[in-house]
Symmetry: D2
């Protein structure tokens, strides 16, 4: 019978704060590259979304849970706008670091800045506007969530 | 023995120009959606890249070929910057239309505008800066290619 | 003001039956390839899923609708098992054809066979077992749906 | 000026061996799910490919490097065949574990078995046949690489 060895359990990597900014490491795999040899441009957005998800999780905000909540915290965060500069390409096996920090917390939206690093090189920079929505409609960020985002 | 019926051959859809702008239809599949029920934000960039690829193909520019060319047309087009507004979400089975047109053709780059439509609704709007590169370095768009882009 | 030219509307491609089998054309884009230069193996599964979705649509079964239905047709089709042979690689710009046909329609599942062609070459072959589920539990394929699958 | 804090550097997660099998943790993100609420079936193949890449890396085999090698180790590993059972679905935020082990090392191919776990539940099981290729043609696994795979 197939069983998982008792000491094989391990958690996927989470990120960490340094000087008020959040960092999340990402490895480049086959799936991320395209035939040019570099990472496919839209896949940097997947890396940045992982960084935002882990940033929110580090603020005790679990998006899967929020989407199933039955009180006023039942919101989703959706991307409203992005402005992205692709400075240098990443390649297979590269170890990247996704930096995320809040530039502004508005009434119904968050402005985040994100940088993808490879060692000390900046590969990609983005401004991301995130809106809070419930049943597809924009709503104010509830105070319980606002508190978690700012502590 | 498995054989393809002689009349089963058909080409994938290409797009078409109307009033100087290029249109390419896209269907939303399972793979494009996420657990929110809508299309995952980075996947709109895949739709827009398909639109750009078909726009270039309609200008007789085949990117697979260009990347293997052995003369000065051996260039790749890479995305340098994007500014994207996500207005409304698309959903499973939606029939979308990707509009692409050139806003400016610079010496070494193209500025494109792209709109994703569902019937008469605008779902996503983007400005995309594309650079010509060879062996990873920016180069001027060769005259043969410039001609195809402007005729 | 941005408006869509009245004659710019067009539908995304659907497929067609020939000799009892369903064919759906697919183009290979940047997003589908990896740094090996060929299509990333998991992306052939996306092509096959598009083929299945269009096969079902050609049988008047729209999966987005089924998932929102309020009667006994409220089912989802989920992939239970796949057996896949990757014979030859596809590359950027290739025009492919996804063949789909039903090998067996069981009480609660469908066995499909799928082949990805490039002209007369077989690139990928797969057997796919699809189960009908409601709220995550296996259910029998309702008679209305069975009828559409077999007519 | 933007600089990375000196102590912000961190490596992406690698995996580990337990009782001769290799384990690699994976987190489910937005990008992995589809509108059914569960992980899109083809995305489990991406998770398994990450597991194989880290398994090879743990054997000191870096696929990006191998593809650029100039001696007889210049090979790529390509997926020839897969047989996959999808037992239970994974969902947003789930912490998964990808188990990988070699069932057989042939002259020109490797047979791997892979299991995706969520705690003690088996979600997906697969047999994967990997072939060694050079310039698209099957080749024998070179002895230096064979040694690394079996030590």
């Amino acid at each position: 019978m197939t069983k998982l060895p008792i000491d094989a359990h391990a958690q996927p990597q989470s990120g960490y704060f340094r000087q008020g900014r959040f960092y999340f490491p990402v490895r480049v795999y086959y799936e991320d590259t395209d035939f040019s040899g570099a990472v496919y441009h839209a896949n940097y957005l997947r890396f940045m979304e992982r960084g935002r998800t882990e940033f929110l999780r580090a603020c005790s905000l679990h998006q899967g849970q929020l989407s199933r909540a039955e009180d006023e915290t039942a919101i989703s965060f959706v991307v409203r706008a992005m402005s992205i500069d692709f400075h240098k390409p990443a390649h297979m096996d590269d170890a990247l670091l996704v930096e995320t920090f809040m530039a502004e917390l508005g009434g119904a939206s968050l402005d985040l800045e994100q940088i993808i690093w490879r060692n000390d090189e900046i590969l990609v920079k983005a401004q991301v506007r995130i809106a809070a929505v419930r049943s597809g409609r924009p709503v104010r960020v509830p105070p319980q969530i606002r508190l978690k985002l700012t502590k």
